[in-house]
Symmetry: C3
Subunit: 102 residues, 3 copies
């Protein structure tokens, strides 16, 4: 079957910025997103493990699959949002079968 090329964006960001990030993902025109919650780790602003009791300070992983132009908007706007928060954004090419879903 025919495969279509899309961009997969993966973000690991502070929970505090997740809502604003999802809003800009949707504003950019992505048709969906995935959020994975139970995420810890360390990164460029020091160790960030989250508080195991309150959950405050944790991270989330956001995954978005979109066309290249929409993806570029999400990546650039995402970095603007991360100016005051910890987080990383990476992108890579993936293939999908249902072109119209992304």
């Amino acid at each position: 079957m025919k495969h279509f090329k899309k961009i997969r964006i993966e973000m690991i960001v502070e929970e505090a910025v997740a809502e604003a990030m999802i809003e800009q993902i949707q504003d950019a025109g992505a048709k969906g997103y995935t959020q994975i919650h139970d995420v810890s780790g360390s990164g460029n602003r020091g160790v960030r493990l989250g508080d195991p009791v309150s959950g405050v300070g944790g991270n989330v992983q956001l995954i978005v699959v979109a066309d290249a132009a929409i993806a570029e908007t999400i990546i650039e706007e995402g970095h603007r949002l991360l100016e005051h928060y910890a987080g990383i954004i990476m992108s890579s090419e993936v293939e999908v079968l249902r072109d119209e879903h992304f």
Copy 2:
């Protein structure tokens, strides 16, 4: 060290279809799969956040690494299973060292 090319399949699917999806992954000949549970998001069938109390209606992320031919079977059969469920399937090339494990 020598790296071998494989296909990484990533699915975000309704929990209700996860068991059937894992069965078809194994039937196709994949030697393993990974399931990540605490997944929410929105997609092509409307917002799907899962019920935070009952857990009903949530999503899971499934990750499979396999040879190209097995991967194609999993992707095509996966789409047949998703005809009546929300979910996305994407694939991309990855490299592994232990060829015999996949």
Copy 3:
């Protein structure tokens, strides 16, 4: 904006080896890592679902983004650590905007 190529390493490993794995990731020079906890699945050492009550025997997903040379060290040392544990390691190319963060 300019994108920089990095290597994304993804590991699904037994929780018992996660701490040693994170240590070698940091020793190799990676500037960060991400750990996702609620992971089950089956693989090359038989079904490994984890004990739902005690959490013992579960798996974690580790994600690292690094330069190619550091990534190769992490992948090779990672396989040495996995000699006595269940787990898989895969790698793929990703793009990032902030070269200095990885």
